[in-house]
């Protein structure tokens, strides 16, 4: 297996990136890694706080534990400390292409703000990167057409993160959620009819017993009046 390591691919990246020596890319016939960064510290970090080894599996079978998805990762959320170094082992359980893209990282270290791992089929790939200290939630997804949309989406939280991203399977609801038919059975109808009748009965009972209610209210009012008076005294 021949690894072709291409540093400074000025033909691929915009000239602004060409000046930086971080635009690393590894590519072979099995897959590719873009912008891996095992050693360069983000500006706001003085040292690596922790080494986190994460294994991420991707494939349609991981969607089985959810409803209404087709592709998924085996986990949907990772929590790390600020300035953590994350060592990803990416395993593709499908016979097709899958990716891990981490978005929103600082552009001065990661061109386009991303780390990208891609496997062209079944197999395994490794890459490391270092997160900044900022409390933030990063999007992790497979960017193939309709893969994130159909479930292959997760989140990486640094220092607890700054909230959940939408439509992470099992974690958060979709912004543009699907509509499903409600299971209306005879019991559902019975509950509805019962509540209508109950609602109707409440004012009826009040009207029918208006005299005794009035009496009770007067009594209570009198009682309160009495207390008030005694307080005043």
């Amino acid at each position: 297996m021949k690894l072709i390591i291409l540093l400074l691919l000025s033909s691929l990246f915009a000239p602004a990136y060409a000046a930086m020596d971080h635009s690393r890319m590894m590519m072979n016939e099995k897959g590719m890694v873009m912008n891996a960064n095992p050693d360069e510290l983000p500006r706001d970090c003085t040292k690596i706080s922790e080494n986190v080894d994460i294994t991420i599996r991707a494939g349609h079978k991981h969607a089985l534990k959810f409803t209404g998805k087709m592709f998924a990762f085996d986990q949907q959320e990772w929590n790390v400390k600020p300035c953590a170094k994350i060592n990803i082992t990416f395993i593709n359980d499908d016979q097709i292409r899958h990716q891990i893209m981490v978005h929103g990282l600082p552009g001065y270290l990661y061109p386009d703000g991303m780390v990208h791992l891609e496997l062209y089929g079944e197999g395994q790939l490794q890459a490391s990167f270092i997160v900044p200290s900022q409390k933030k939630t990063y999007l992790v997804h497979c960017e193939l057409a309709q893969h994130a949309e159909k479930g292959m989406k997760a989140q990486l939280k640094v220092d607890g993160g700054d909230g959940d991203l939408p439509s992470i399977p099992g974690i958060s609801a979709a912004v543009n959620a699907d509509s499903y038919t409600v299971d209306w059975t005879s019991n559902t109808w019975a509950a509805l009819v019962f509540c209508v009748l109950l609602g109707f009965a409440i004012p009826m009972v009040i009207i029918m017993n208006i005299a005794s209610i009035k009496e009770a209210v007067v009594k209570m009012w009198g009682l309160y009046g009495h207390i008030g008076r005694s307080k005043l005294d």
């Binding site: 590719m32 592709f71 292409r97 990208h116 543009n176």
Partner: protein
């Protein structure tokens, strides 16, 4: 007694008011008086919906060039094919430099070519990998479409296409929802050489099952391993899985490949392409993929013996209701149910008619046949739409030289200006631009289109559909757009025009006051006030009567 009379009087008044109201009912339409409403102007020149006819994104791609030893012919089009795509399609991802591959979106294992088994200077073992891509798909993240591909200004029907295996971003870039240029309609034209051992691997990246059926291509019914090789429904390749079809075609010609799962729907969604087997010749490196069909920038050796240019013309249609189903949900179960059971394909219509994935005016950008006089041009025409195509060439009579990939015998060479092509049929045409009053009537910007009339419309809006041009070089500008006809071009490169918001002749300076949109009629306030008062009074008086009658009875 006076109360009784007053009630009677009020009731009479009510009757009168009712009659008045009846005659004063205001309506949403009304007859004009002497002067009908004025003309309103709503043509798109005043709005942001107008696009530049040619975006001219890659002028450097037009020139004839040699990349990694592959000659890429000149393309005068506004949107020429990426010459690096052509080079990779000719030599394979395994035989080009990394720098060339980086100028494309091909995966490194998308197309491997090797083993010159007959020793004639070209590879004879070809491994092709295809993925399935949904264009204009839905997103759970908000109300937008993703991996968009506009077939005409503002027209984004969901499409499913086969695409060469790609790598990296499916989007054009981080600031865009548009698909990268390798992911587009139609499914790419695939070219191989006669006798090549071809392995076509379907890697199903989509969320529904699919297959590849090699329609008309010489293929054994089973693979060497005894597996399905005909792409039938019962051997569907499910999401995340792959299957390799094996062929060694003995016969040449223009054939097809398409998905054979829920075929009416999947073919209608765009899962079909042209599959062309070229004659075996020495040193014959054929252009395995023609992305987006259209001009072949590296024609096969045998084609160049007779022809100066070669084009692939892929006709397809879209049922907008069928296409919209995948945009209504993200749950694959809901999509499957709505497509396969709720939607009835026998009640389907064709709304968009595409040539090489685009409807007019986008066909002007990448499907114009740019010709000189006295050229011999080969056209491979495939009908992948649901209805017949009656292909009509203005200003020319072409000759059909092959039907369904079988060469026409000398006595059956038909020279005509309308070619009837049934669904799934292919014809190869010889277009001669000899100005002899038969083959060509001379230089021009001549249309060619489906003469089944709605084929030239986009959801009922004309001009649209599969209209394209045979344009002579003298009448084409340096961006590949026709010289002149500017007013028309400005009008149709507009989202508003295809959203049916613009008067068809609203752009004609002389006739826009006469054929622009009629404005609205001013409301007849006299009538509206009269009617309102009458109804109000009527209701009030009736309540009064009720009150009086109640009092009377008590």
């Amino acid at each position: 007694m006076p109360k009784k009379y007053s009630i009677l009087l009020i009731l009479l008044l009510c009757a009168a008011l009712g009659t008045t109201a009846f005659f004063l009912v205001p309506s949403t339409t009304d007859k004009a008086t002497i002067n009908p409403p004025a003309t309103v102007y709503n043509h798109g020149e005043e709005t942001s919906s107008v696009e530049k006819p040619c975006l001219n994104e890659h002028p450097e791609w037009r020139a004839a060039q040699v990349i990694d030893g592959v000659t890429v012919d000149v393309s005068g089009l506004c949107e020429p094919d990426n010459p690096f795509d052509v080079a990779v399609a000719v030599k394979g991802t395994n035989n080009v430099s990394m720098a060339t591959l980086m100028q494309t979106h091909f995966a490194q294992d998308a197309l491997t070519m090797s083993n010159d088994t007959d020793g004639d200077g070209d590879p004879d073992e070809i491994h092709i990998k295809l993925e399935v891509v949904e264009l204009n798909g839905s997103s759970p993240d908000d109300n937008f479409l993703i991996n968009t591909f506009d077939v005409a200004p503002g027209i984004q029907p969901a499409l499913w296409v086969f695409a060469p295996k790609s790598s990296g971003m499916a989007l054009k870039n981080f600031n865009s929802k548009a698909a990268n240029p390798l992911l587009r309609a139609p499914s790419p034209v695939i070219r191989v050489e006669q006798g090549d051992k071809v392995y076509i691997t379907l890697e199903n990246t989509h969320y529904l099952p699919h297959t590849i059926h090699l329609h008309g291509v010489d293929h054994p019914w089973m693979t060497a391993e005894g597996q399905d090789n005909d792409g039938m429904e019962e051997h569907a390749v499910f999401p995340g899985k792959q299957h390799t079809y094996q062929i060694q075609p003995r016969h040449t010609g223009t054939m097809l490949y398409h998905c054979h799962v829920q075929t009416a729907q999947h073919l209608g969604m765009g899962m079909g392409g042209m599959f062309i087997v070229e004659e075996n010749r020495p040193n014959n490196w054929v252009q395995t993929f023609n992305i987006g069909a259209g001009q072949v920038r590296h024609p096969a050796v045998a084609v160049k013996e007779t022809y100066s240019q070669e084009y692939d013309l892929h006709y397809q249609s879209v049922d907008k209701k069928l296409a919209s189903i995948v945009q209504t949900a993200n749950d694959p179960r809901l999509i499957a149910e709505r497509m396969t059971r709720q939607y009835n394909m026998t009640e389907s219509f064709e709304n968009y008619f595409l040539l090489n994935g685009h409807a007019f005016p986008y066909t002007l950008r990448d499907s114009t046949i740019i010709a000189d006089e006295n050229e011999h041009i080969k056209l491979h025409v495939a009908n992948l739409q649901r209805s017949s195509v009656a292909l009509h060439t203005h200003g020319h009579k072409a000759t059909a030289v092959a039907f369904d990939g079988v060469e026409a015998p000398a006595g059956l060479l038909m020279t005509r200006d309308v070619f009837d092509i049934a669904p799934a049929q292919r014809i190869d045409l010889h277009l001669e631009t000899k100005n002899d009053g038969l083959h060509s009537y001379g230089a021009g910007v001549w249309m060619f289109h489906d003469h089944v009339p709605m084929g030239a419309s986009t959801d009922g809006i004309e001009p649209g559909g599969n209209i394209a041009l045979i344009a002579y070089k003298s009448l084409v500008d340096e961006q590949g757009m026709p010289k002149g006809h500017i007013e028309m071009v400005d009008q149709v490169f507009s989202k508003d025009y295809y959203a049916k918001k613009q008067a068809v002749w609203g752009g004609n300076k002389e006739f826009s006051p006469l054929l622009g949109d009629a404005g609205l009629l001013a409301p007849n306030y006299g009538r509206i006030i009269g009617f309102g008062l009458a109804i109000g009074l009527l209701v009030g008086l009736l309540l009064l009567v009720l009150r009086l009658m109640q009092r009377k009875s008590s």
